[in-house]
Amino acid sequence: MRRALAAGAWFSVGLLLVAVGVGALHVQQLDREVRERFEGKRWALPARVFARPLELYVGRALTPELLRLELEALNYQEEGEGRPGQFTIRGKEASLHTRAFVFSDGPEPARSVQIRFGDGVVADLRDRHGSVDLMRVEPMLIGSIYPTHGEDRVLVNLREVPGGLVGALLATEDRRFLAHRGVDPIGIVRAAWANLRAGRTVQGGSTLTQQLVKNFYLTHEQSLKRKINEAVMAILLEYHYSKEEILEAYLNEVFLGQAGARAIHGFGLAAEFYFQRRLQELELDQLALLVGLARGASYYDPRRFPERALARRNGVLDRMQREGLASRDEIERARSRPLGVTPRIPRGEGHFPAFLDLVRRQLRDEYRDEDLRTEGLRIFTTLDPGIQLTLERQLTAGIQELVRVRGIEDPLQAAAVVTDPLAGEVLALVGDRDPRFPGFNRAVEARRPVGSLIKPFVYLAALSDPERYTLATLLDDGPLTLHLPHGEPWTPQNFDREFRGPVTTWEALVHSYNVPTVRLAQQIGIPQVVRLLQTLGLERTPAPLPSVALGALDLSPLEVATLYQALANGGYATRSRAIRDVLDAGDRQLSHYGLELRGAVPDGAVRLVVRALHDVTTQGTGRQIGWRLPERVVAGKTGTSSDLRDSWFAGFDDRFLLVVWLGLDNNRPLGLTGGGGAVPIWSRAMAAFPGASLNLGHHPEIRMQQVDRASGLRADTDACAERIELPFWRDSAPEVRADCDLGVALPGPGGDNWLERWRR
């Protein structure tokens, strides 16, 4: 019997030892898990995509309306006591309080400035120390690229977290946080007693550390084993790490809301999600609401259950008062405030789907998808929110008007691109008639026949050789039949099916005549035209068919913009960049996509083409622009594909280049020419941009000369019935005088020396 007892005791001791051994192994395993996760990269952080910052300086083109548009997009608040993120605009005066921000070239401090507007520009910019040369407003967050599990967060540092938040959190969730070692027996007893008295669960006994462990390491199953693991891991976490580290991790980990597939984690993002403010800018009542959500973000969701959320918030405020964390007055004031949650959920996927799509495409060359979703990169783009929003409004209104006036029944589709041609930056992009629709991105993906948009490049190729071609060179606009490589005859027609005989190069381009353009392209050679297009940024090699000269070439609106940039940029091709910089989570620059000049054509020849393209907008196929936009010198070209399937206009002023495309997705005829469809939309958008006139004045290698419109010959007097003044590059003006001009006697060479100037 005793032996049996002894044997049983030994057996129990053995079992205990095994259990302890297994337990020790298990604890060791948990310990490794705790440390690996906490010391490694704790969270997968989405890449954040920013618009370009608004730069302010005296002389910057800006109106109070555009400033308001930008600031509202940034969710700046009007009026207020002058704290960061607030502004006022009264007439031509504005005051603005910006937030600090770190850019790729260094930090930009928060500023409080007064702005005075002049005529479409910033006339004066000063803060309390005096005038300010240059400053930036922090950029608008336009989207995020999420981890696949949908967790989204904005990391905060314990040092930058408002004291009120930490106080409220500890008062509500874990009063003895600073005293316990991970698990709080006193807290458990108190919670159990409170629950027993209430007859239901009113208090939780788990510490912040346990809550962190639960979220961070464990699944959400409810079991005793999990409870034990949670307690052991909490103790281990406290053993290895300081209270500050644990608290900071909690602040960033805790789940505080949900929007579709996107889970809102941490107080940094919650501040943006509920109030569209930074955490540091929140008031006591707002902090209390966020703290209240830690216990049950869905149950207390302030957007869905505002009353519940309000009661919860006030409960947190009461606790704060009991703990002496704020004065009775402060608490009373906070209690009396409404919830203050913005009704609109900030859309994480981005306000500008077409532009974000372009950003993703351009990132794909250099970054793995995984890195974009997890590394917390900051991506600085070229998007100009003011221009983007203006373009969207004008495009939408323009389409509505067109549909109404023209009675178009098919779903008219549209795409548009705005670039800064001198910098080669994409400022705005719309890929659908509904600019918010995140579907097929026509601005980038839809390649459509460009029609006459191609003509300026045919003429540029010719005019690059001034000894052979000038704007006054006569081209034959008579019937033409070409034999294509496969033997088929091709007989190009003009739009109006008329032939005009000899016409000047200028007239053929301004009025977009097809037949002389085909002849010209045949003379210089289609391969030459294709080479020119490639120099200017076309990244494909189209088959060198004669019809290329009439735009039997499919391009996306973005590709068209890239080509036209060279015309607006003195002949230098630039890329169309959507990204400036990529920074890592520590603000180090990973990539810079800088200003770059690519192939070039002589700017003298470009100037001739631009001059003709300006005439397109005053007397040619785009002449409505002349009266729709009378104050501005612009240049551009209409494009219409065969059977009126596509309606294009591509053009620019001194600051902005805009390409508009209209058509139908089913590729059926739309019934609109470039002039009838795209031009009115182009004009109204361009009129709404703070643009500036092209300067078509002096060029050191160009002389103006009056010529007879019919013969293209020199007209020194006013005897010829129709005369035009044209620019000539490198002494290429015609020397022979027109017959009509010779019909009258010239004024003698005395008095006026204007004649000498002409003849020089």
Binding site: E55, G59, S464, D603, H698, P700, E701
Partner: protein, 184 residues
Amino acid sequence: MSRATIGLSAVTSRAGCLAAVLPAFALLAACAVPAPRPEAPAQTGAVVVVPEVPPSPREERPPAPAALPDPSHTATAALALAAQSDEAMAAGDLRLAGLQLERALRIAPRDAGLWSRLARVRLQQGAFQQAERMAQRSLQLGSADRGLALANWRIIAEARERMGDAEGARRALEEVQRLERALG
């Protein structure tokens, strides 16, 4: 994750001495460049040609009326950045110097002086082709400033030399010498 790297070339002594010449005052210089006639116009079959010589006037005449809309305004902000860029360059931070000039060029995109500065930064970064093109762009925009033209031709000459274009470098050096003689 891939990283875009910017190769830093050794700073040559010549590039160093350019610093003094490069003007923030590009627009002030008034006399025309006494340049020879440009090289023969582009031949047919080679339309894609950058003019070798800055657009050159054929006769002495007063400079063109100011093309920029109120240059004094944009200049303040852009020149403040140019000054910061100089500081960054003096401290050897070519990356920052480049960023500041790009920012300045977004403010004043037709400022020939800014283009020339950026050309110099690109030269020192070893981006020779960009250095050459930006210097050409500067010549295109600021044809009336001989000091600036000289700085640009020096950049072009060095960039071509570093790219192994000996003949191009020689032609650029001829321009340099011509301008040096003209400037005395």
